[in-house]
Each structure stands twice: as structure tokens, then as C-alpha cells.
């Protein structure tokens, strides 16, 4: 109970709010793990919570963390509005904050640590172009399977992807035949939507810009039924075991690997410093389009993963060889040089 006493809030304690567990597996399986490891190593107290995609919960968790005496607050916002409300509250209580993975517009956090989401989309676009070129497809028909229409990140991914493909569309090199968003990143719905895209295009889809590995797998599943898998390149994101396996067997063109560990470690370092009352210098900044201010940032580069560099993900320890190279994939693993 002493934590509520304003004077006694000296022991460093770092609060982290993760957004959900459904848009991507990374939050619970990777971020939580790496952050915990870093905090434990530094010997600071911490409290990591997941808002489960619910804004009300996001805010109650923030309220409770502030109430519970955290000295630094790290948030992955669900949207800028709620994020800003939380950052404002924390600031009023004199608690420094870090925007983790997603920038809170107008929020004015101390730091912003992230992968560049537009860059992720750009890698996907480039990957698709690369695979199509390798396959030698002329004037390919492209279908875009976007993430949740209510998720701002999905908009950013799409923006990046389209920035690569748009010139090709305009030049009539590529043809955009369908472009639909998948509510809630729901793979099952994604499968149905893609099935209908394929039907509508009378089977003539030559490349799929899928926003993540789950949606990519949904598209691949439909392609398999039509025995078109492997012929039609599909993109992805998150370097999930499933996505990497799809790449190994050639059903998926590429995925985007975000070295979550780097992101988590960088965040943990900044947070621990803040908790101790220090303010570390970082080299990059990001412009907050709403407040016009430059937020000190650590921006990490996402990496495109193709068949020949799947091993990088394993080397990084993001997925283990045991998970990835099950009986069905052992041969492909060897071929891809994973040992």
C-alpha cells in the first residue's frame, strides 16, 4: 500500500502495456519474453499487461499501473487517442513514458522505439516484385489482402506495399485485380475473401500481397485447393513458424522478420535508464505529425526473409530449429542451410 504514497515511489518499477494477443503472436510469445528477460537481468521491478485489443481495458490497466506506482510507463497503443489519454495521465503524475512499436500522435512520449511499419510494407511490395520477376510472370494480376480495416498499422503496411506497386500499376506492368481488407485479421475470413477474389478473377491471380503470415497462409490454403500453390507468390510478415515453413516448401514468397528481441532490449534499456532518473541520448527522431515535434527515436530495420535467409531467423533464436524443421520440413531445412 505504500506504493500509493507519493513520497515513497522511489523503487524503479516499469509498467508495460501490450496491445492484444490476436493481431500477431509476437506480443505474448516474443515481446513479453524479451522484455521480462531484460528487466530481470537489470534487476528492476516490472508489470507487463496485455489489453487484449480492448480500449477500455487498455485504459484501466494504465490507470491501475499509475495507481500501482510504476515509475516508467511503456505502451503499445491501440490507437493514438487512447494512447494520448494514457500518456497525458502519466505525465500529470510525473511518470515518463515510452511509445513502443507504435507512435502515439500528439502524445509526447520521451522515446519512440519501433520498426518502421511503412518499411515493412515496402519490403513486402519489393518481395512480391522480386518473386514475380524470378518466376518470369508477364503483366501479373495482383490481389491485395490487407489487415484489419480498424487497425492503423494495417493502413501503414498497405501504404508501404502500395508505394512499391503503384508505379507498376500505373505503368500497366502489373494489374490490381482485387483489394480487400480482412476484419480483425481473421484468417478464416481472409480465406473466404481470397477464395472469392480468385473466383471473381476466374483463377487469374498471379501474386498476392498478404499483410501477414496468417493471411498469407489463408491465401495459400485456397491456392492449394486449386493446385495453384507455389505458382502464385504470396507475401507475409512476422516470420512465424508457419510462414517460414511455407517459404521452405515454396508456397510463400517471403516474410518480413522484425527482430523483436532488438526492439525489446532497446526499449528495456531506455526504460531502465528513465527509471533511474537518467535520460539517454538517441540518434534518431521521428516527426509527430500532430504536434509537429520531433520524438527521440530508436528505429529498427525490418528484414525481408526469403528461402535462402530463413536460417537468419533461426540463428537469431526467434524460432528454434525444432519448431521449424519438423519431419515434413527436415529436407527443406537442410537445403536452406539450417543446421
Amino acid at each position: 500500500e505504500d506504493t500509493t504514497d507519493p513520497g515513497a515511489a522511489k523503487t524503479p518499477k516499469i509498467g508495460v502495456i501490450l496491445p492484444d494477443s490476436k493481431s500477431s503472436a509476437r506480443w505474448e510469445t516474443a515481446d513479453r519474453k524479451y522484455l521480462e528477460e531484460a528487466f530481470k537481468a537489470a534487476g528492476v521491478q516490472y508489470d507487463i499487461q496485455n489489453a487484449q485489443g480492448d480500449k477500455t481495458q487498455f485504459q484501466s490497466i494504465a490507470d491501475q499501473m499509475i495507481t500501482g506506482g510504476v515509475t516508467v510507463l511503456v505502451i503499445v497503443n491501440l490507437d493514438s487517442g487512447t494512447g494520448k489519454a494514457v500518456l497525458d495521465k502519466a505525465k500529470a503524475q510525473g511518470i515518463p513514458t515510452i511509445d513502443y512499436d507504435r507512435l502515439t500522435l500528439g502524445g509526447g512520449a520521451e522515446y519512440y522505439v519501433s520498426f518502421d511499419n511503412v518499411a515493412v510494407g515496402r519490403l513486402q511490395g519489393e518481395g512480391l516484385v522480386k518473386c514475380l520477376t524470378e518466376k518470369g510472370v508477364k503483366n501479373p494480376n495482383i490481389a491485395q489482402l490487407n489487415g484489419s480495416p480498424t487497425d492503423n498499422n494495417a493502413t501503414l503496411f498497405k501504404e508501404g506495399g502500395v508505394s512499391v506497386l503503384k508505379p507498376k500499376y500505373d505503368a500497366n506492368e502489373y494489374k490490381l485485380v482485387d483489394d480487400q481488407a480482412v476484419p480483425d485479421w481473421d484468417n478464416a475470413q481472409g480465406g473466404v475473401i481470397f477464395q472469392q477474389m480468385l473466383t471473381k478473377a476466374n483463377g487469374k491471380i498471379d501474386g498476392v500481397l498478404a499483410a501477414n503470415d496468417g493471411l498469407g497462409n489463408a491465401a495459400i490454403s485456397v491456392l492449394k485447393t486449386n493446385k495453384l500453390n507455389g505458382k502464385v507468390p504470396v507475401t507475409g510478415q512476422d516470420a512465424t513458424v508457419q510462414g517460414l515453413q511455407n517459404i521452405l516448401v515454396g508456397d510463400q514468397c517471403m516474410t518480413v522478420y522484425k527482430a523483436v528481441k532488438k526492439e525489446a532490449t532497446a526499449t528495456a534499456e531506455l526504460a531502465i535508464a528513465l527509471a533511474k532518473g537518467e535520460k539517454k541520448q538517441v540518434s534518431q527522431t521521428t516527426k509527430d505529425s500532430e504536434s509537429g515535434k520531433d520524438v527521440p527515436s530508436v528505429l529498427l530495420e525490418p528484414q525481408a526473409i526469403y528461402f535462402n535467409n530463413v536460417k537468419d531467423v533461426v540463428t537469431d533464436g526467434y524460432v528454434t530449429k525444432d519448431e521449424l524443421c519438423t519431419a515434413d520440413f527436415a529436407a527443406k531445412c537442410t537445403e536452406a542451410g539450417i543446421s
Binding site: 510469445t29 480483425d184 490454403s221 486449386n226 493446385k227 495453384l228
Partner: protein, 418 residues
Amino acid sequence: MSAVTKEPATAVAPQAARDEGILGYLRGYGQKVRGGDMGALPAVLGLLVLCVVFGLARPVFLTAPNFANLLTQAGPVVVIAMGLVFVLLLGEIDLSAGYTSGVCAAVLAIMLTTHGYPWYVGVAAALATGLVIGLLLGFLVAKVGIPSFVVTLAAFLGFQGTVLWLLDEGTNISVRDSVIISLENEYLSPAVGWGLAAVTVLGFAAVQLIQQRNRRRRGLKADLWQVVAFRVIGLAVLVGFAVAILNQERSRNPLFSLKGVPIIVPVVGVLLLLWTFVLRRTAYGRHIYAVGGNKEAARRAGIAVDRIRISAFVICSSMAAVGGVLLASQARSVDPNTGGSNVLLYAVAAAVIGGTSLFGGKGRVLDAVLGGLVITMIINGMGLVGWSSAYKYIATGVVLLLAASVDAFSRRRAAASS
């Protein structure tokens, strides 16, 4: 048996066959429909209207490949809705049916992919999970007495967590077992399709004939042979037409042939037969209707109401388990969203649009199939119209409303004349 029935009947049985001939029968049917007793008519009308609308908007909607898509897409919703019919018949609800299917799908995927068991072990485990869930829900509703809305809302949250937990906080598990995959992704060979159609029609004809003969023997009013023949021929035309379309070549890959009746069709057909039989021809089914119509009357008639209620939840959850297997087959993968999102709402809507009442006592398993087709047709058609999400949501709502109002108008007519 009793003091009364031992007496010779002093009057003729009240129901005299007054409408003679085929014309009388048609007149009777017309009056019935005008009186509002429309059976499957509204749902069928709804299906026709949707076909016309989407067919005009996107001609590809009415092609053989899309027809096959429609049937495979409808599979999971129809199966989950079938189970829900039992719970709805009691005037209860199962909000957790969607996530139950998710949990069962996760169990299946873990058994198959993580542990490498053969498909039948996986399916058995999934069904057993569904059964246990049903027992638990039924127990809480019937014995503890918590309203089913609350129990299944709690289960909705709990199972959402369970799926996450089973899938290690959000990883996807691929399903690669060929038997499981085939359910939603493979097709019967054309010959087998025709064989199945023949068996269906002949079986139906046989059952009809036996029933009518039994009634005639007892001196009870039986249907005219013309009517029976009409029914059989009607079914034959319908089934034959569907098989003919599905046996067309649909492949877009010239190296490879894609035709035949989707395997899901006979699977759903068997489930439909089974549950229709249970509801209409067994004492258990009769008791389900009785409990849904008037729980107190059923209790006074000596029916073990609690047991009936628990069993309905068990059937519902077990069918959700089957639905989960189909979901896994369809997506070839299981993730934390499996069974989530709108699966439950669509399944309930399927049952209700088909004509099942939310207040209990009224509904058929066939409703789930027809309503499920309506819902799937809406989603399928929307997938062909390349609108933005906002318009798609709105249009889906509007189309759902229109489909439901066909039903509403028929029922208003019924209410006005009674």
C-alpha cells in the same frame, strides 16, 4: 391400456379426409401458406432473391466454381448452427459455441501436428472436448441454475483464453493431415456423386412409401400418391441438378482437373438426416420440443427436464466440435481467431433466419442448413463485390435484414389470421 380406451370408440375419429383429390390438396396447401404456415418457403425465397441480386451484380456468382465455393464455405456455419438449433429449441442460447469450435480445433491441431497422432485420434479428441464442454455448460445451466446467457458468456471469455493458452499465446498451427484437409477441400468423383444422389432419392422415396402405407393400414388419413410422387420427383430434380453442376470441370489449372461434389456435402447431409431423425422420430426429440414449449408442462409429464437440457448443450458443443474440425480443414491451420469473430453470430443468424425461434419450441435442423446457406451466400456475394470494408459491413447488414424480412412478412400474415 386404460379404462377408457378399452371401451369401443363410440364416434368416428374426428379428422375426416374432407379435401379429396389433388386439387383439394393444392387448395389446402395454398390456404396453409396464406395462413402463414410457410415452412421452408421464406428461406428458399430468400435464397432465390439473393441468387438473382448477386447474379445480376456479379455474373460470376452464378457459376459452377462459385457454387462449389458456397457449399464448402457454408460447411462450418451450417454445422455449428445445427447444434445451436437444439439449444435454441429449449429457449436457451450458447454464446460460446464459436469459441468451443475454436478450442476443439486447437485440440485437433495439437493432436495432429504437434503430437503427430492419426486423424481419427485427433477427431475423437476434438469431439470428446466438445462433449465435456457441453456437459459443463449444461450442468451450470440446468443444475446450478445460472441463465444460459451468462454461463455461455463466461464460457465465451474463458474459451477465448483457452484457445490462446492451447496455441501458446497466439501461434498458428498448420493442419496437414490429408483426411482432415479433404473435408473442406476435396471432391467426390463424378460417378460417386451420381451414386450418392441416386441413393438419396431412392431412400427418400422408400421412407415416404413406408410411412404412407403404415398410415393407410391404420385407416388414418394419408397423403395422395400424386403428392408423394411430386415430393420424390422434386427432390430428384433438385439433387440431380446440383450434382450435374458440381460435376462440371472447374479447374483453372489446365494440368489438373477439379470437379465433383464437395466432400462436405454428404457429411452435412448425414448430420442433417441424423438430427432430423432424432428430433422428429424419437421420444427424445419430442421431449426437446416439449421442454422448449412449456418447461413446466414437460416436468409435469414426467420428463427429466434437467437431463434434456444438459443433453442439448452436449449436442450443441459436440456439433461445434465438428464445426471446429471443419474450420481447421478449411483454413488448413488453427489460430487464436478460429471460431471467434463472427462465427457465432452467423450461426445463430442462420438458425433464426431458417425459422428457428429464439424463445424455444420451434425450429428444425433443416432451418440451420437453409439459413446457413443464406448467410454464406451473403458473405460469398459480398466477397465478389469489391467494396471497401465500410460498405461491405453496411451492405451485409442490409441484406441480412432483407432476408429476415421475407420471413417476418410471412409470420405477420400468420399472426393476422390467428
